[in-house]
């Protein structure tokens, strides 16, 4: 029977080229957006660069200070003093890495002014993030402790300076300091917030040690554990420490709020979080995303429902005839649902190809530098699921409505 439904559907598509085209067009646009969104989301949640092990770490990148009455609220990146006093002593993480956010600096290459991202890190940074070295290596604990003027740069920067990537041992000048290049890594897209930069140097090379006394600043930290389950302990330990042990001498800002978040928690907090609470908002984020994607699918679905109804309506004579010759309502429902699923799958296939074009376009355009969208089974499964939901949402109601037509009326209408 299924085979016959499929055959019939195929014949109907061929005979009704215009309807099929309009239908496919609508499906294709909607699904392309869904597939692209899925792939972008996947790329964000499951990075493929140095942050690919991100289920093993939490990031602390925000500090909010308030007074007792929470009238003054001040949010920024944490300073080194905060990290040193309240993060580094944590027992639960196996490794803690401290590093700055990436800063834009200007340099001159061949009399051309260019902008680059510079990040200052510790030695643990290279242990918790999985950089791919093309040449050389990272700096170790000893080089960090001694404040050696060494730098790791990405391929792009190497090419900018030297027109080649094999540049270990060369020197570059950054902000009036001379650094020796000891490693070259693959380019990292800015979607990997903690790994992204063009140049990495030890933060012990900073010209002054003033940063050591700052509660607020531009530092971040990664808490790493080889067993992702244990990260919850680190989260709790950190929050407890802030709640009970935070002191800020010589300041009225006596309360601190900060969070060790995984990727999803960080996103949720960005959208829904309050600065002065320790709550996570993952549920809100998930519910919100589901609602948003449903809402997004709703309009095209309603459109498709209309299109499907008129498509089936044109065939009321067929419905009448099939019923007269013994088709049951449920058989007709299946026939129309399968037709719709087949059409949606064809549209979905087109959407997949179109999404590849679009994402390749984004990659090439440099809109998001160095980004590489991978196509994996997870993306495929999620997209397929969305496509099927779309097919069902837009196909089931018309199928039921039309299949239940009274045969006498259907035959009359079909004249």
């Amino acid at each position: 029977m299924l085979k016959n439904y499929l055959m019939t559907a195929w014949k109907v598509f061929q005979r009704r080229k215009f309807f099929t085209f309009i239908n496919l067009f609508g499906i294709c646009i909607t699904l392309t957006i869904i597939v692209v969104a899925t792939r972008v989301a996947d790329n964000n949640l499951y990075p493929t660069g140095p942050e690919k092990n991100n289920e093993h770490f939490l990031v602390i990148s925000k500090l909010t200070l308030t007074d007792d009455k929470q009238q003054n609220i001040d949010s920024s990146y944490p300073g080194f003093k905060f990290i040193n006093d309240y993060v580094l002593p944590l027992k639960a993480p196996e490794i803690i890495s401290v590093y700055t956010k990436s800063n834009t600096i200007s340099s001159f290459i061949k009399e051309l002014k260019i902008k680059q991202q510079l990040r200052r890190t510790d030695a643990n940074y290279w242990k918790v993030l999985q950089f791919e070295f093309v040449h050389g290596q990272s700096f170790d604990q000893q080089q960090f402790d001694l404040g050696h003027s060494v730098a790791v740069i990405n391929q792009h920067t190497a090419l900018q300076y030297f027109d080649r990537t094999d540049v270990v041992g060369e020197q570059i000048d950054l902000q009036n300091q001379r650094f020796e290049i000891i490693g070259v890594v693959k380019n990292v897209p800015p979607t990997e917030l903690n790994a992204h930069s063009d140049i990495w140097v030890p933060f012990t090379t900073l010209p002054t040690t003033a940063y050591r006394h700052q509660m607020r600043g531009n530092f971040q930290a990664i808490l790493y554990h080889s067993n992702p389950e244990r990260l919850k302990d680190a989260q709790l330990e950190f929050i407890n420490r802030l709640k009970h042990e935070f002191v800020n001498e010589n300041s009225e800002m006596t309360k601190a709020f900060s969070y060790a978040d995984n990727k999803l928690e960080e996103m949720a907090r960005d959208f829904f979080g309050e600065e002065t609470s320790f709550e996570t908002h993952i549920q809100t984020l998930i519910i919100f995303s589901i609602l948003l994607s449903l809402l997004f699918m709703l309009l095209p679905s309603i459109n498709m429902v209309n299109l499907n109804i008129s498509r089936i309506m044109e065939r009321s004579s067929e419905i009448g005839v099939r019923k007269a010759f013994g088709a049951s309502t449920s058989q007709l429902v299946w026939q129309f649902i399968i037709e719709n699923i087949l059409l949606t799958l064809i549209g979905g296939t087109m959407a997949f190809s179109l999404s590849i074009f679009i994402l390749n376009g984004i990659e090439i355009s440099g809109l998001i530098p160095y980004v590489e969208f991978t196509f994996n089974f997870r993306v495929f499964a999620v997209s397929l699921l969305m496509i099927l939901i779309f097919a069902l949402v837009s196909g089931v109601y018309p199928a039921f409505k039309m299949a239940r037509l009274d045969p006498v009326i259907a035959l009359k209408r079909g004249l």
Partner: protein
């Protein structure tokens, strides 16, 4: 074969009640070929639809192929429609998206019959109506007479006990109509099919075994 007892049908539309049929008693014997005549709007099609279980009477009892109909739920009547009854409509009602052969196969889709056997039965039916050469055409590539022959083939492919034809020749010229009539007559002779045919044409009606006349929803004797 077929018994209608005290059948009535009223249509309720916007406070106006239309009586299409009232107190119809009719028995048709197995293998009988009858025609139904009457002026336009008298209820002939309604009667045929009720006999064919497409429509539900407002009142009365009906027995088709020895089976008394008590419920019009899908599961109770689809099999009867599928195996015992064949329809021919005035306006053919072929499915324009399907080829002739697929149109003829349609009733068999709702039975447990292999694709090969279906094809074979459809070809046999098309041969009976003299259309073996047109199996891969689409309906709109055929003349009216040919289309109605396809419809006849579709009606008989499942070897129904009861053939219902609502003005099968109404849309055809007299020559084409005669051809269709001959096919229906031969079915009657060779296969003992019970046939109920609605017609406006006295000459056609005379060729059947019995004429039932309807006037204003009632049988006249």
């Amino acid at each position: 074969m077929l018994h209608l007892t005290n059948i009535s049908k009223t249509y309720q539309t916007d406070k106006i009640e239309t009586t299409a049929l009232s107190n119809i008693d009719l028995s048709i014997k197995k293998g009988e070929f009858i025609s139904v005549m009457g002026p336009s709007g008298c209820g002939k099609s309604t009667l045929l639809n009720i006999i064919g279980l497409l429509d539900q009477p407002s009142d009365g009892q009906i027995t088709v192929a020895g089976q008394q109909i008590t419920s019009y739920k899908d599961k109770d009547i689809t099999q009867l429609r599928n195996e015992k009854i064949g329809f021919i409509f005035q306006s053919f009602h072929l499915i324009s998206d399907l080829r002739v052969i697929d149109n003829v196969e349609l009733p068999l889709l709702y039975r447990k019959i292999s694709a090969k056997k279906r094809r074979q039965m459809a070809l046999e039916a098309l041969e009976k109506v003299g259309l073996s050469a047109r199996t891969l055409h689409y309906p709109n590539q055929l003349s009216g007479g040919q289309q109605q022959r396809v419809a006849v083939a579709r009606a008989i492919v499942g070897k129904p006990k009861l053939l219902l034809a609502d003005e099968p020749t109404g849309n055809l010229d007299s020559h084409m109509g005669d051809e269709i009539m001959k096919i229906i007559e031969s079915l009657h002779k060779n296969h003992e099919t019970t046939i109920v045919m609605v017609t406006h044409d006295e000459a056609m009606a005379k060729r059947t075994e019995r004429i039932v006349r309807v006037f204003d929803g009632q049988l006249v004797h």
